[in-house]
Symmetry: C2
Subunit: 217 residues, 2 copies
DNA sequence: ACTCACATGTAACGGGTTACATGATTGA
DNA sequence: TCAATCATGTAACCCGTTACATGTGAGT
């Protein structure tokens, strides 16, 4: 249900096409929500017919034309209503934890490679988040980048927050840009804390699994 | 897709009825997976017709009869195959983070109460996990129970890991009970680390939101 | 009489995933 | 010529959520 609202927030931060939204969901918004382009186009169409968003055809040179979506008044109201309604603390779903408990019934040590793969994925994500934080929020990013030894091997550092939009929007500026940036940063810090926790926990799991290394038939 | 496997793991740890499984998903398994009884009955029926589980009618005195499910050979094979196949690191979905970024466009301070509610829920869960850990794994649970001041107010302490099953199963004991307990404990430690991280992050968010307390029109 | 815990389901809806499909332009 | 990026969609399936439904026995 919150995909609608995630899209609204993203369009408020900066209007854009379905394709552009899909890329944002692989970057900054991906810290806390994922969505494929199929989902996004479906929701955009519904929100358009509900009058939550406005569409504008943008012809482009050297590229296919695109539809630029922006939030309409009704969409803003819907978002506001959702923001003021309480939501239940989210339920967790960790496939890997199912595997770890299941490993007790099938060679625990065989899981080590899989857990290491996940640890690497989280290390990569952490490196991306930290690079984005340094770039977009100018944090010094000093000493303890990693809670433990092991090379993060950063592969790429694309911008995680979309380029700051031009300060002159035509739809009534309503809030100092500070709040937008500060809250984006707070969410990013949550992503960083999450990745750090996961890496530390996966190290814990690896140490536990290692104790069963010779136990198989 | 992993609900099937979560149920198989739970039934391997101890056979039981759909109703009992539903209660386990509110307790120990709830650390990493949630499911309602409707889902569970649906999956059990499918797994039964696929020969993954066996059913046994158990008449009871003073209570409705129940169907006790246990894992069949085919179910064990299916679980094993899944354990050996790689899975992608899970995608995150945090409604609250959507709200936090959305708050920039609608009175940030209005979110404070909501964030405090979530903080309390995570504090409660942490207290439950720690109580379960102390009970089932005998950890001393010493100094820093909470990373910050605020009363957790523990309401209840039900058993989080189901009672240790009788050591004499009839279906071929294959592994010292150590692995089962150690891995359950590792997963529980993950739940504890997650709740601690969330509490610390929500404090961070609250501090950030407080900076916008007087900013509304 | 009423409520709670136990116990098992059906049905409808909506959202997420995966597969399939099209077409333009740029650069190797 | 082939692959990659930009750009937008349709269709089918499965899973999770919510609402509805039924019935027993124990305790207040």
């Amino acid at each position: 249900m919150a995909l609608d609202h995630a899209i609204l927030v993203s369009l408020l931060e900066k209007p854009g096409s379905g394709y552009e939204l899909a890329r944002r969901f692989e970057r900054s918004i991906g810290y806390f929500w994922t969505a494929t382009h199929q989902q996004i186009y479906r929701v955009l169409k519904r929100m358009e017919s509900d009058g939550w968003v406005d569409v504008r055809d943008v012809p482009q040179h050297g590229r296919p034309d695109k539809k630029e979506y922006s939030v309409a008044a009704a969409g803003r109201d819907a978002l506001s209503a959702w923001l003021h309604a309480p939501i239940e603390p989210e339920s967790v779903r960790h496939d890997l934890a199912v595997k770890i408990r299941g490993a007790a019934f099938d060679d625990p040590a065989a899981l080590i490679g899989e857990v290491e793969r996940h640890r690497q994925a989280h290390t990569d994500r952490l490196a991306r988040y930290l690079a984005g934080e340094a770039r977009d929020f100018g944090t010094p990013a000093p000493e303890d980048v990693r809670p433990d030894g092991d090379d993060p091997r950063v592969t790429d550092t694309p911008p995680d927050v979309d380029e700051p939009r031009d300060s002159g929007g035509q739809s009534g500026v309503e809030r100092p840009l500070d709040a937008e940036r500060e809250l984006q940063h707070a969410v990013l810090r949550g992503g960083i804390a999450y990745e750090r926790m996961m890496i530390a926990w996966l190290d814990d799991v690896l140490a536990t699994l290692a104790r069963f290394r010779t136990a198989r038939s």
